[in-house]
Amino acid sequence: MTSIGSCCLLARGKGGLGRLTKEELVSLQKTMLQIRHFEQAVAKAFLAGQIPGFLHSSIGQEAVAVGVCASLREDDYVVSTHRGHGHVLAKGADLNEMMAEIYGKATGCCRGKGGSMHIADFNRGIVGANGIVGGGIPIANGVALAAKKRQRGQVVACFFGDGASNQGTFHEALNLASIWDLPVVFVAENNLYGMGTSQRRHQKVENIADRAAAYNIPGVVVDGNDVLAVREATLEACERARRGEGPTLLECKTYRHYGHFVGDPGAYREPGELEAWLKKDPLNLFRRYLEEQGIPASRLDELEAEAVEEVRLAVEFAYRSEEPLEETALEDVYVPTEAGRRAIL
């Protein structure tokens, strides 16, 4: 499934590594549904003027977030991006705190200072989203370096987009991870576009994973809409990382159903492209699979209803929460050490 160098095989999944119980399978779908409904809710609230700033929706890409995070331990880490709601939800972020953050409320996980692009929760190994394309990749190495030094067998899943794979930080960070055998899984979420620019126009390689050859690390391509395939490929990369054998560049081919940000009509898409990808909706695909495995449709409908309800409650929590007080604005610039206190005066 993996291969060293530039030649990449499509990981097929659904067998082999880390077989899952039915309950575990169901829980994957549950998380995907949570993400889907979370994203739908925030988009709706945004368009209703309830959410400030701007938003990048990950609808269509849920299988990447869930497949990757399902193969992580609780004490593993994720480094996320501007399109990061799915990643952090899948890693276990609290729905309420996260929704409140996106609403800019005091109860938000970042006290209303970060917003959609800066969700973080270190207690859950969520190192943070990032507003700078490619900005998180070098940081992932540092977390992995600490993990390696402490020998607790932790790994870091570092998400970034196809567009980010053209940033200098991608190159520097993959090279460093390679020579230091850092326990990072570099997850290239290839949704075919960096903003309005298709992959074909921003790089000449067919696969981002082809770039693994430049660091002599394994490059793997996987169907990013197949949650099990993603999970299996990630598991293998994680095991490699935990064995001390270094990083993997794992490319997940996927698609975002909406524009670059909520409100972008996506006029740059090829005709018929969206329709074709909608047929490969990761939630529908997996639902079909679960039904084939004998999970009753009613159970799956219930799951969905639960996700809707959880998200509704989160919206309510966020909506009802207070805005942060002005006196908190100058907190958190510095740790209030003696020097830190004096530095904001």
């Binding site: 400030p52 700033g53 701007f54 953050e101 800019g104 409320k105 970042c110 209303g112 200072k113 970060g114 917003g115 692009m117 800066h118 990032n130 507003g131 700078i132 394309v133 490619g134 900005g135 567009g163 980010a164 053209n166 940033q167 200098g168 930080t169 960096g194 903003m195 309005g196 620019t197 126009r201 921003h202 790089q203 006029a267 740059y268 805005e323 942060p324 002005e326 908190t328 604005a329 100058l330 610039v333 530095a343 904001i344």
Partner: protein
């Protein structure tokens, strides 16, 4: 009556007219083509001028600035767009060590007629990495010129000057002003770099404000007039070169200076202005120079906190009262 257009349209018009005028000019940046730019400033230009003149790049800011620099060094006249000024961190070496210094290091062997456009500013809850005002880094980099217009009229005239200028110019737009309208004549005009504009006359205190803060200063001035305080609002329009003469003349008249900008106070442009006026205008000053700037913090996401961190009209009014009333 003169037609009114937005800053976005003014910038676009300047770009279009210059592209038509000079074949050596081309635009380079991320999604500035078919997409029209994330702020829609370049919308329609790709359709008009094609891919050779309006060049989409990958998300690679250092490569963008380097490509623009290399082309400029051999005689082209590129206009590069950095989508948000917050991203100059990823290409700061190309800007500060290459663009700004290549002419000097080569003893004048090369001319860099390069314009870098980038929007800055808070106000959209875009949080810490999409809301900054980073002009202070640039004015501290010898070799660069720095323009920071406020009105559509100034934006158009200064951008045309910047593009025609033989020195590299960083042209800082403001995302909150893209929809702001103002009178712009139909015909061709160019505003020379380095001339401040007095946006309102007044005898009690000089308010030097940049970019969006010009509007805040004008609003404060209008309100203060009701209190009997007459503010002179000066918009330097370019920070390098800085029109010290106009500013000093105003301070000579008013005896008081308040500087207003959106970047954090510590080490901002206001410090430079205070140092210049405090020195060259020492004898004019009847009161300490006040600075009204963002507090020394990153820009927070929450609209309430963002408002609190960045300067507001009331802050300007309070500073004016302090300097006038003591």
């Amino acid at each position: 009556m003169m037609r009114e257009i937005t800053c976005r349209e003014a910038v676009r018009e300047a770009l279009r007219e210059e592209l038509q005028r000079d074949e050596d000019i081309f635009l380079i940046g991320e999604d500035i083509g078919f997409y029209g730019g994330t702020n829609k400033v370049t919308q329609g230009l790709w359709q008009e001028f094609g891919s050779e003149r309006i060049m989409d790049t990958p998300i690679s800011e250092a490569a963008i600035i380097g490509a623009a620099l290399g082309a400029a060094a051999v005689g082209m006249r590129p206009v590069a767009e950095i989508m948000f000024i917050d991203f100059i961190g990823v290409c700061m070496d190309q800007i500060a060590n290459q663009v700004a210094k290549l002419r000097y290091m080569t003893g004048g062997k090369v001319t860099i007629p390069l314009t870098i456009r980038a929007p800055g500013g808070a106000g959209r809850s875009a949080a810490a990495q999409h809301s900054q005002s980073l002009e202070a880094w640039l004015i501290h980099t010898p070799g660069l010129l720095v323009a920071m217009p406020s009105t559509p009229y100034d934006a158009k005239g200064l951008l045309k000057a910047a593009i025609r200028e033989d020195n590299p110019v960083v042209f800082i737009e403001n995302k909150m002003l893209y929809n702001t309208k103002g009178p712009v004549p139909e015909g061709e005009y160019v505003i020379p770099l380095g001339k401040a504009d007095i946006k309102r006359e007044g005898g009690d205190v000089t308010l030097v404000a940049t970019s969006r803060m010009v509007y805040f200063a004008l609003e404060a001035a209008a309100k203060l007039a009701d209190e009997g305080i007459e503010c002179e609002v000066v918009d330097p329009r370019t920070l390098v070169p800085l029109d010290k003469e106009t500013i000093l003349e105003s301070v000579a008249k008013t005896g008081r200076l308040v500087v207003v900008h959106e970047a954090p106070e510590r080490g901002g442009f206001g410090a430079e202005l205070a140092a210049v006026v405090g020195n060259e205008g020492f004898d004019y000053l009847d009161a300490p120079i006040e600075r009204v700037c963002s507090k020394n913090a990153p820009i927070p996401f929450s609209p309430r906190l963002e408002r609190f961190i960045t300067p507001q009209v009331e802050d300007i009014m309070a500073a004016v009262r302090t300097t006038v009333l003591g």
